[in-house]
Amino acid sequence: MYGSGIIKGMGVTIKHFFESFIEDFRYLGRGGRYSDQYMAARQGPKTTGIFTVQYPEEKLPVPENFRYIPFLVFDTQKNEDRCTSCGICAKVCPPQCIWIVRTNDPKTNRPVPQPADFHIDATICMSCGLCAEFCPFDAIKMDQDYELSSFERFNTLVYGKEKLTRPDTYHASIHPGDWARELQEKEEAARKEAEKAKAAEAKKAAAAAAAAAKAAEAPKAPPAA
């Protein structure tokens, strides 16, 4: 019959229309489909019906890997920047939006592992995350704050060192998995260090013991002095 295809299609739209309401009923006694605790269920593959979000009142949680403009990690334990101004991030940056001034010791003029200045031009940054990926010191990480609109183009969106630096507690709060990996690596390194120290100590002790034994064996040797 001519027109049956259209009617069939309309059946699909009407199904879509009611699906949302059916799900509403399912959550009716439990605070409603739109309450915060069902956000994940509403956004997942099992949901039926619409899953639009009323931004900015409602915001979707972002996954840990989400990346948007880098920031510099400040080590709150050691009270120093993690950055050593090695320049790898500036070299790998595809749009070349990272500008680093390396600190030189005023006396010897040798490089000091501290950035004197650090700029990121957020208007150029493409949020690719390569800087964070290749930083050997875990000093630059990707932020997750994506609401950066400003009324002015030239001054507010070029981030200097103060604006870029965030404490490592902030890093830990947005990247818990990455933070756990760092802690583990640190522990591993500390353990290795301790083992090494222990081994060295043992060696030293053994050497001392050997020397003592030697000294005991040869008491008749004339004094060195």
């Binding site: 069939k8 700029h119 949020s127 990926e133």
Partner: protein, 615 residues
């Protein structure tokens, strides 16, 4: 430039190239790294031989490479066969740099049309005998050819990244401050930009208006009789129109611009159509409004820096773009990703295909007038896939997920479970829903069936790729024809339809989604554990000198990356065979004798993304 000195020609031509050498012993010489160099005098003859006798009927890529040190330009052709599978046949032509002229191969492979125009535009190589050798991406009147090695862009800083000004003395300075606008813009004498008009538009209008049958534009009345619209009476002069004799009405051809700002063009794209009443007599696509000289940027970048730039080509399917580029560079480096990374790559590429096709179908329906309901149904499924991309790569669209010899990071917890739920439960159900919703709809069928027919011969002739090619009855899919990654392990069919009209392209995309779901189901079940990166990940990839063409079956069609390395940290030449761009070659021929309203859906059925078309 160092490459030119170091590059040794291939020792001996083998396979089909040896046959070619036998046929043209004088003209054919071995090329550097790969392929054969054919003398310009015999190029057309040799190309005809390659097409007819050797069976390489499909021209994939034409591009130029500039070698200032040797003072020559090289034109590189990659041709494939749709009949027998396998690797490309590569041949090259050389020409002096100052007066670069190569005979056109348009007569042998009409698909060379746009690509030769692009090579002229960006590289400054003239193709003798080309019917319309005009600039295609830059504007008419532009000075110079941007892909020449000695050309410098407006905010030129240094030949290669990383720039020295960034570290260690990286005192921030804007590009605009360093080079105030105008400082390196050269005008010819007596040039006033305020009053200048290039005349390019007027030239287009004059040309398309004066198109006659000989030029392949407007058909003669006798030819028009074959018009398949079937809804009108044929007047004495062959005019097909409503049931009224119209001999006495004076008509004229009308030139109309569809675009550049037009909702149907999916971006900034222009179609100059010549109309006779409502019927299109000639259509010419005009593009380049979004041109950013991606290839030049790519040649200034280091290898790894190009990865996020490839995301911005076809921004709806960034994972596939990553894939093609990674394959090309891996070919040069000679690395292979570990098992797990291969599986992850396939999973990502196939999810991208699903994403892209639901989007394409949705927006085709938009073009048809079904305003946004189907598009949003498609986007809903796409949204769930983008969530997966975001969890894995950190970004929904600009994924930047592939690395040479692996992927950027391992799959996060919960990825596989969600993906399984999607591809085993939700997507098959939703695709059935789509089918029920749209496929039998009488309005859609009335509009789409018979519109924009492209025959199998024409599809191959015009180098159409992907769904456009396969909907015309050519079962050519790079995943099967020139196996890459681990596609040979999966059980799937190459979707093919035979009418070559808009409706078949729509159905074919649904078929492809189903096949992608099949691949995904297998890949997710077999996904092994283990490493995701071969060797240590390095921020400066060491790429030995060489040339490589990496191609993947992207959602839009065959996506190829031609990379020439001279052993330094930056690619010497980086070219993209963009399916969105090359598929438009067939747009004009497909639209002839269609109604003007159908031009919109024919364009929609090709499924272009302007980021890739204009590059």
């Amino acid at each position: 430039m160092a490459a030119k000195a170091a590059a040794a020609p291939v020792a001996e031509l083998t396979g089909p190239l040896a046959v070619l050498k036998e046929k043209f012993p004088e003209a054919v010489k071995p090329g550097d790294f790969e392929g054969a160099v054919i003398a310009n005098e015999s190029l057309v003859e040799a190309a005809t031989f390659i097409r007819d006798e050797l069976g390489y009927d499909y021209l994939s890529s034409v591009t130029g490479v500039d070698y200032p040190a040797a003072n020559e330009c090289e034109v590189v052709y990659h041709v494939f066969s749709t009949k027998h599978n396998g690797a490309p046949l590569v041949f090259k032509a050389r020409t002096p740099r100052d007066n670069a002229v190569v005979p056109t191969l348009e007569g042998v492979w009409p698909g060379a049309d746009f690509q030769e125009r692009e090579a002229w535009d960006l590289m400054g190589i003239k193709f003798e005998g080309h019917h319309n050798l005009k600039r295609i991406l830059m504007w008419e009147g532009f000075q110079g050819h941007p892909l020449r090695k000695d050309w410098k862009e407006a905010y030129y800083e240094q030949d290669n990244k990383p720039f020295d000004s960034r570290w260690p003395g990286g005192h921030f300075q804007r590009g605009e401050e360093r080079t105030p606008f105008g400082d390196n813009v050269n005008f010819p004498a007596n040039f006033d930009p305020a009053v200048y008009t290039s005349g390019a538009d007027a030239a287009i209008y004059d040309r398309v208006k004066s198109m006659d049958a000989a030029a392949g534009g407007i058909l003669t009345p006798a030819e028009r009789n074959g018009n398949g619209n079937g809804n009108g009476h044929v007047a004495a002069d062959g005019y097909v129109g409503p049931d009224q004799p119209e001999e006495n009405i004076e008509t004229d051809h009308l030139v109309v611009n569809l675009g550049p700002q037009h909702p149907s063009t999916h971006g900034v794209f222009r179609m100059v159509v010549t109309l006779e009443g409502e019927t299109i007599r000639h259509l010419e696509p005009v593009m380049g409004y979004l041109h950013r000289n991606h290839e030049k940027i790519g040649e200034r970048n280091t290898y790894i820096q190009n990865m996020p730039f490839t995301d911005r080509l076809d921004y709806l399917s960034s994972m596939s773009n990553n894939f093609g580029y990674a394959l090309a560079v891996e070919k040069l480096m000679g690395v292979k990703p570990p098992e797990r990374a291969e599986y992850i790559r396939v999973i990502m590429a196939e999810l991208t295909r699903v994403c892209n096709h639901v989007w394409a179908i949705g927006f085709l329906l938009n073009d048809l007038g079904a305003f946004f309901t189907p598009a949003l149904y498609g986007m809903q499924e796409r949204e769930l896939i983008l969530d997966l991309f975001e969890a894995a790569s950190g970004s929904r669209m600009m994924c930047n997920y592939f690395r040479f010899g692996g992927v950027a990071r391992d799959l996060p917890a919960g990825f596989v479970e969600t993906a399984r739920e999607l591809v085993f439960e939700r997507l098959p159900r939703k695709i059935d829903d789509f089918e029920r919703y749209l496929s039998d709809n009488e309005i859609i069928r009335a509009r789409c069936e018979g519109a924009g027919v492209l025959t199998a011969e024409d599809a191959i002739k015009y180098s159409a790729a992907g769904p456009v090619l396969r909907a015309s009855g050519v079962a050519y899919d790079v995943r099967r024809a020139d196996n890459y990654s681990i596609y040979d392990r999966f059980d799937f069919d190459v979707a093919v339809r035979h009418h070559g009209d808009v409706y078949d392209r729509y159905l074919l995309r649904l078929d492809e989604i189903r096949q992608s779901i099949r691949i995904l189901q297998q890949a997710l079940t077999q996904l092994p554990g283990g490493e995701i990166q071969t060797g240590k990940k390095q921020y400066s990839a060491r790429v030995p000198a060489g040339q490589a063409y990496g191609r993947v079956e992207g959602p839009k069609g065959e996506l190829g990356f031609y990379v020439v390395s001279d052993g330094t940290a930056n690619p010497y030449r980086y070219h993209i065979r963009a399916p969105s761009f090359i598929n438009l070659t067939a747009l004009g021929p497909m639209c002839i004798n269609q109604k003007v309203a159908d031009a919109v859906i024919i364009l929609g059925s090709i499924d272009i993304v302007l980021g890739e078309t204009d590059r």
